[in-house]
Structures are given as structure tokens and as C-alpha cells.
């Protein structure tokens, strides 16, 4: 989205520059003195706006519809929360022959797993704040971890501790996540062991 916005903003800058440059060049007579007498808006457009013809109205309606659609599409894209779609809940089934009891099904909520790993990370001494999100397919979930870490901590220590938390998650869920950890260094005020 950032690249798309950057492209659009660049395009907007180019359009502004082109319109302004053309207006200035024509107004100053750089392209011939005849152009300096021209009006910025042709009189025909003003007359059309005052007394629109049927074709003019159809054109206006179509342009309006197009502007409305483009505006809504862009607005929807801009207001959407970035990121991958969240992982669905995990479903485990067991036949009656396996369990020795009746047919069973266990559902593990993705939110519960996220909460578990967040709590696990939050309890680490070097971590000031933790956020975890499970995304992508439930067979091979993507685990996105955002950590606020005390700046005085050795990364190697944190990696080992986070690795243990991820291992606990793997044992609980039976899924090996593809993990990305983003660290934000902060000068923590609480004592760190």
C-alpha cells in the first residue's frame, strides 16, 4: 500500500507540475502571445454548466459514477488494516476407535493461541510489551511477533527465550509456525535481570 500511495502521490505531483507549468508558460506568452488572451476555462464549458444538454448530463452522470467508484475503492483500500488474514481456528478430530470413547472433536481458538504465546513472551524479563498474531493457513501458520525489548538485553538471550516460547506453542498446537519477529528497542525503566 505504501508503494501504491507513493506512486499516486508522485503522479499527483507530476499532474500539478504539468498543469501549473503549462498555465504559467501560456500566461507568460512563452508559447506565443496569442495564448495569453485565452481563458483558463473555455466559455463553452461555462455555458454547458449553465444550460446542460442531454449528452452533457449523461457525461456528467458517467463521470460522477466513475469518480464515486474510484473514490470508494481507494477509500476502502486506505482504511483497510494492513496485514495478512488471520488464521482460522484449529480443528482436531478423533475417531471413536482411537479414543476408546465416542467420536470427538476439539477446536482450539486462534485467539486463545495468540493470547497464550503473548502471555508467554510478556513474562520474559527483557520484554516490555509483546504482541503476537497468527495469520495464513492453519496447516502452516505464520506467527508474527512484535516485541518491545529492553535495549540493554543481549539479542542472543532473547532469541533463546523466544525460541522456547515458540517451541511451547508448537507442542500445544501441533503446528510448526513460520515466524517473523520484529523488535522495537526501548530504554526500559524496570530492573532487568
Amino acid at each position: 500500500m505504501a508503494v501504491f500511495n507513493r506512486l499516486l502521490a508522485t503522479l499527483l505531483g507530476l499532474v500539478l507540475l504539468a498543469v501549473g507549468g503549462t498555465g504559467l508558460a501560456l500566461g507568460l506568452g512563452a508559447l506565443g502571445s496569442g495564448f495569453t488572451q485565452l481563458a483558463p476555462v473555455p466559455a463553452a464549458i461555462e455555458q454547458l454548466a449553465s444550460a446542460p444538454s442531454q449528452n452533457g448530463l449523461i457525461g456528467l452522470a458517467l463521470a460522477g459514477l466513475l469518480a464515486l467508484l474510484v473514490g470508494l475503492v481507494v477509500l476502502r483500500a486506505e482504511l483497510r488494516v494492513p496485514g495478512q488474514p488471520r488464521m482460522a481456528d484449529l480443528h482436531y478430530s478423533q475417531s471413536s476407535a482411537e479414543s476408546g470413547f465416542g467420536h470427538g472433536r476439539t477446536v482450539v481458538r486462534a485467539g486463545g493461541l495468540e493470547h497464550g504465546i503473548r502471555q508467554s513472551l510478556q513474562s520474559l524479563p527483557a520484554v516490555v510489551r509483546a504482541h503476537a498474531q497468527l495469520a495464513g493457513p492453519s496447516a502452516r501458520p505464520n506467527l508474527l511477533i512484535d516485541l518491545e525489548m529492553d535495549a540493554q538485553t543481549q539479542l542472543s538471550t532473547l532469541k533463546s527465550e523466544v525460541g522456547q516460547a515458540i517451541e511451547r506453542f508448537r507442542l500445544t498446537s501441533g503446528k510448526q509456525p513460520s515466524t517473523e519477529v520484529q523488535i522495537r528497542l526501548v530504554n526500559a525503566r524496570r530492573p532487568v535481570n
Binding site: 501549473g20 488572451q37 481563458a39 486506505e78 519477529v181
Partner: protein, 181 residues
């Protein structure tokens, strides 16, 4: 800059939606020959007609047109300069192992390093800039006595060492003489 761009795009999208709704409303009102319309729409119509009339009677050589064109040029150039200059990455690569890939928030690191140097040394006006998504180039500018260079370099080195990036990062420390008030 990313937030600024997003805001600009949201405003543009809202303008498109409003303009689209207005164009649809006007064309329907005219097509159906409805004389009545709300006061705000009537006022808007009158203002638009007035503006079009004024623009159709002005000449391109008029100073108001020239000033508007110059303003558009300035705005366009400003926007292009802001968009086309290289943007520093939001996150930089730290490491990758069996467990995970590790990334660091660049701005938070720069801020932390700056406040650490101010706290631990007598340097003032510290500015740390980290560039390069994978191969880091760290530049630290500070004002103070040239004698504290070693101390600053040591702190920078130890900060990178804690992250395991001391050996493969290009570090440049510049100490300027602090101005005496």
C-alpha cells in the same frame, strides 16, 4: 511520510466520492426536471457557476492565474521532492535462524542510541541514522569534545554487539565541536 501519503489519499478519495455524488445528483435533478433542491446544493451550484463564469472571463496573463499556476508548480515540486527522495526502511534485518527471522525497528533503534549517547556521554545534538535493509550503515553525528570520540564509538559498538551486528556493520561517527553559548 507513509502516514502523510495515506492521509493525502484518504482526502483525495473523499473528494472523489463527494464530487461523484454531486455530479450524479446534479445530472439526475436536471434530467428529471426537478426544480427543487436543498439549500446547500443550490448554494454549491451557484458558487460553482460563479467560479466558472469568473474563470471563463479571466485571461491566462492575469496575475491571479499566473499566481495560481506558480502555486501549483510549487506544490507539485514539493510533492515530487518528498516522494522521490529515498525513504529509510521501517525495519532492518537482524538475523535468521531455525526459529524465526528477526527484524529491528529502525527508528526505535536510532532513538534509543541517540538517548543512550546523550545519557552516557557529554555529547549534545546526537543524531543516529541507520541505513541499509540488510547490510547496515550506521552514521552517528554528535556535538561535543573530540576527546569523547572513543567513548561514543565504544557505546555504539556495544549497542550493535548486543544485537549481533557489530562486525558486519559500517559505522561512521562524526564529532563536531560544540558551540559555546
Amino acid at each position: 511520510m507513509r502516514v502523510f501519503n495515506r492521509l493525502v489519499m484518504v482526502v483525495l478519495a473523499l473528494l472523489l466520492v463527494v464530487a461523484g455524488l454531486w455530479a450524479l445528483a446534479i445530472s439526475i435533478v436536471h434530467a428529471l426536471g426537478i426544480g427543487w433542491r436543498p439549500d446547500w446544493l443550490r448554494y454549491f451550484d451557484q458558487s460553482l457557476h460563479q467560479a466558472l463564469k469568473t474563470l471563463s472571463t479571466l485571461q491566462l496573463a492575469d496575475w491571479r492565474v499566473l499566481a495560481s499556476a506558480a502555486a501549483l508548480i510549487v506544490l507539485g515540486l514539493l510533492l515530487l521532492l518528498l516522494e522521490l527522495r529515498p525513504w529509510p526502511p521501517l525495519i532492518v534485518f537482524l538475523d535468521e535462524d531455525d526459529t524465526a527471522s528477526w527484524w529491528l525497528h529502525r527508528a526505535a533503534f536510532e532513538g534509543m542510541l541517540g538517548s543512550l549517547l546523550i545519557k552516557e556521554t557529554t555529547a549534545v545534538g546526537v543524531r543516529a541514522r541507520l541505513r541499509g535493509r540488510r547490510s547496515w550503515r550506521l552514521r552517528v553525528d554528535a556535538a561535543g569534545s573530540p576527546r569523547m570520540r572513543g567513548e561514543v564509538e565504544q557505546l555504539v559498538h556495544s549497542s550493535l554487539e548486543r544485537l549481533g551486528r557489530a562486525d558486519d556493520s559500517a559505522i561512521r561517527v562524526s564529532i563536531h565541536e560544540a558551540r559555546v553559548a
